[in-house]
Amino acid sequence: MKIVPVILILVLLVFENQNFAQNSSAYTRFGLGDIEYSFSARRAGMGQLGISVADGDFINTLNPAGWYKLNRTRIEFSMYYNGLYLSDNNSKGYLGEAEFSGFAVAFPISYQYGISAAAGIVPFTNVSYLVEQENQLDGNSYTTTYEGAGGLTKAFVGTSYRLPFDLVIGASFDYYFGNLYYRAGIDFPATNSLSAKYENKQSPQGFGGTFGFVGPDMSGIFNSQTITDFRLGGSASYFSKMDFDTVFTSSTATLVDTLFIGKTQIEIPPRIIAGISTIFSNQYLISFDYSFQNWQNYKVGGLNRHNLRDANKISAGFEYRPLRELGSTFWEQIIWRAGLSFEKTQYIVNNEGVNQVSFAGGLSLPISFENTLDIGVQYSIKGTTASNLLKENSIRLNFGISFGETWFIRPEN
């Protein structure tokens, strides 16, 4: 394995914490924030889902069954830069932020039986907004700042297994944790008045599980040598009732005062994803997916929350993977991707649902044998300026590293 990319990744991890700007909007104030479907730059270039797609050189974090084809130990890291152009009826602005978006590691155990194990830490939701307003009181100006940060993170460990008739199942044990920060503050820059800050810190934690399957190859129904690997796939993610601690504090420069401490539980509705994929001429992959999660039933302390509705997403992805041949040049080894998606997000504000359309593309560059640098670009349009809402035009650049090693691989008997 090349040491330089590893060092560079570690540098990214170190410097990630210095970037605390904004990468989303005030929509993330509702529920648990934006849903992060996939941390991978590969999936970002294909519309983010790809539930029925199984790669031998990629860790599918949405469907544990998709690990059955892994032929090497794989380690994957990913980060993204999000450029967001926000607008409402009165103003507009640009924001940009880079974030580390997770890692995963997987080991093939038995290729014959499709047994692989995988683990990782990936983002599940994201809260990120920064709103500032200038005000005046009796001639003294002050600045009010509202900020949201944090999100829910998923740590998972799971396995896959190939049943007879080429049906593959998989399961992962998931642990969800994280902190959601909602802050409001006032500063008086021109005077010696004390600043004031309020922070609502919510800490959900709990367990869940993801169960998935990848169906047998049904390409035979087309009776075509061009079409191969036509499969159905699906996954269901369940969430236990999660502990939800809330600490509400006020503070100045010198003192923090706890105003409220609360403990309750939240209920996250299950998420169902289903899809189909097929390969043409051994090089062209097409996938279609549908995701559903009834966020209308999201509850805090047994009570439904406002501003949430059921979330639906459909996506289509395309991948061109050149055949591996001896003597292939660097350019001939590049994998190309494209995708698009339409999402009815879980947000409904001022009786207006917030929808998102995304267009994506990407590629994987060979660093060395079985190691790739993955790049994904996703352009999204979300929301509207009607009904006093926000419109987001964002472009997300995803970067990922995928290392393939022969660690822990035993010869098959």
Binding site: V4, P5, L8, V11, L12, F15, E16, N19, A21, Q22, A26, Y27, R29, M79, Y81, L86, D88, N90, S91, K92, G93, Y94, L95, G96, E97, A98, Y129, L130, V131, E132, Q133, L137, Y142, T144, Y146, A184, G185, I186, F188, T191, N192, S193, L194, S195, A196, Y198, S250, S251, T252, L255, D257, F330, V349, P366, I367, L373, L389, L390, L397, F399
Partner: protein, 390 residues
């Protein structure tokens, strides 16, 4: 080439992670944050009818650590002082004294003035008496009736101006003091007591013994060894203490008093329970109105008061180190007391104490419009700015 391309891409990735470019934050999305909105509120004791009380009291203080010695009479106060000098003699002088070979031919005490309370043209005089009883820097007005001193005035040839007060003192008295300093078997002198005469109508202040050791009272003693030499010895002050006695003057029922020297302090209390529990104090300003008709301020007056955070409402001596200075302007005294109100709000509210700035070294009398003033515009005024959840 593959390696170069990869390296360039890694560089680009690192660059993205390190550099964010963004417009300054704006108010886009503010309408979605109803549950988090906060705002700034301003209240004051006049328009928002904050309950307040004020009172004043006389406090016995010891002026032994004061930086100034006060002498004179004015208005409601009378200031006197006790001095004892340090006769640190060389061995040769001691020997001559013990052998009766040395005579005191002159003795002059000089004090440097640095303060005046009253009209500079007003009458001023004092008498000087030999003290017979023991005293220390803890001497105060309550100790005065028990002070034993000679009736005789041992001072003569006074020269008094606005810079220096000097006077001659009995040679015989000084001779006895020098002998006592030379002979261990003879009790040391107990110094002199200076007190104002009846017609005095102002108070002068002189440099007291402090760590600065400059411009202190001195005694210059002319000595003669007959047929041998004459010389002048200068001795510095060893112990000094001022005593101020007086009564609280009669003032308007609507006013409160603050005076130095005597000392008179005031207590002020504002009820801030109207401020919501979830608020954060941003700023607090206190404004007091001076009643110039009842105030007595000398030409050297530093028109400053101090507000001191009170720790226990039942004990006016329970003062915090938290102090704020009120400065004077156009008949008002004003100070930022944000830290006071912050602690009242987060801790316990026992009010504050008002005292004269450098209260041991001045005699200024501030008459201030109090909480019982009929005109609400002259009552003590407290304006508080706080942040709260909408």
């Amino acid at each position: 080439m593959q390696k170069n391309i990869v390296k360039v891409l890694f560089f680009i990735i690192i660059s993205f992670s390190l550099f964010n470019c963004a417009d300054p934050p704006k108010s886009i999305g503010l309408g979605l944050l109803d549950s988090d909105l906060i705002n700034v509120v301003k209240i004051n004791s006049k328009d928002d009818s904050l309950y307040q009380t004020s009172s004043y009291y006389k406090k016995q203080v010891q002026l032994g650590t004061a930086e100034r010695l006060l002498l004179g009479k004015k208005h409601n106060v009378e200031a006197s002082l006790l001095l004892q000098f340090n006769f640190n003699l060389p061995d040769s002088i001691k020997e001559d004294l013990l052998n009766n070979n040395l005579n005191v031919i002159s003795a002059n005490i000089e004090m440097s003035q640095n303060y005046l309370f009253g009209d500079s043209l007003a009458a001023f005089d004092f008498t000087t008496h030999k003290i017979n009883s023991d005293w220390s820097i803890n001497f105060d007005a309550d100790s005065l009736p028990f002070l034993d001193y000679d009736i005789e005035d041992v001072a003569a040839g006074k020269l008094i101006n606005d810079s220096v007060t000097s006077f001659n003192i009995s040679n015989q008295l000084i001779q006895s003091w020098l002998l006592a300093a030379a002979d261990e078997n003879i009790p040391r002198d107990k110094g002199i007591y200076l007190k104002p005469t009846g017609e005095t109508d102002k108070v002068r202040g002189y440099q007291a013994l402090t760590i600065t050791f400059s411009n202190l009272p001195v005694i210059r003693v002319g000595i003669e060894k007959p047929g041998v030499y004459t010389d002048t010895l200068t001795f510095n002050i060893n112990v000094d203490v001022g005593v101020v006695k007086g009564d609280i003057p009669v003032i308007s029922d609507e006013n409160i008093l603050v005076q130095g020297g005597l000392v008179i302090n005031s207590r002020l209390f504002f009820d801030i329970s109207k401020i919501p529990r979830t608020a954060v104090i941003n700023n607090a300003e206190l404004v007091l109105t001076i009643d110039s008709t009842e105030s007595v301020l000398g030409p050297d007056a530093i028109q400053l008061l101090q507000a001191v955070y009170l720790l226990d409402s039942t004990n006016t001596d329970s003062l915090s180190v938290l102090v704020s200075t009120l400065s004077s302007s156009e008949g008002k005294l004003q100070s930022n007391i944000t830290s006071f109100v912050y602690r009242w709000f987060t801790d316990a509210n026992h009010g504050l104490i008002l005292r004269v700035f450098e209260q041991l070294n001045t005699l200024e009398l501030f008459s201030i419009r109090g909480s019982s003033a009929i005109d609400p515009s002259v009552k003590p005024y407290l304006e508080i700015t706080y942040t709260n959840i909408k």
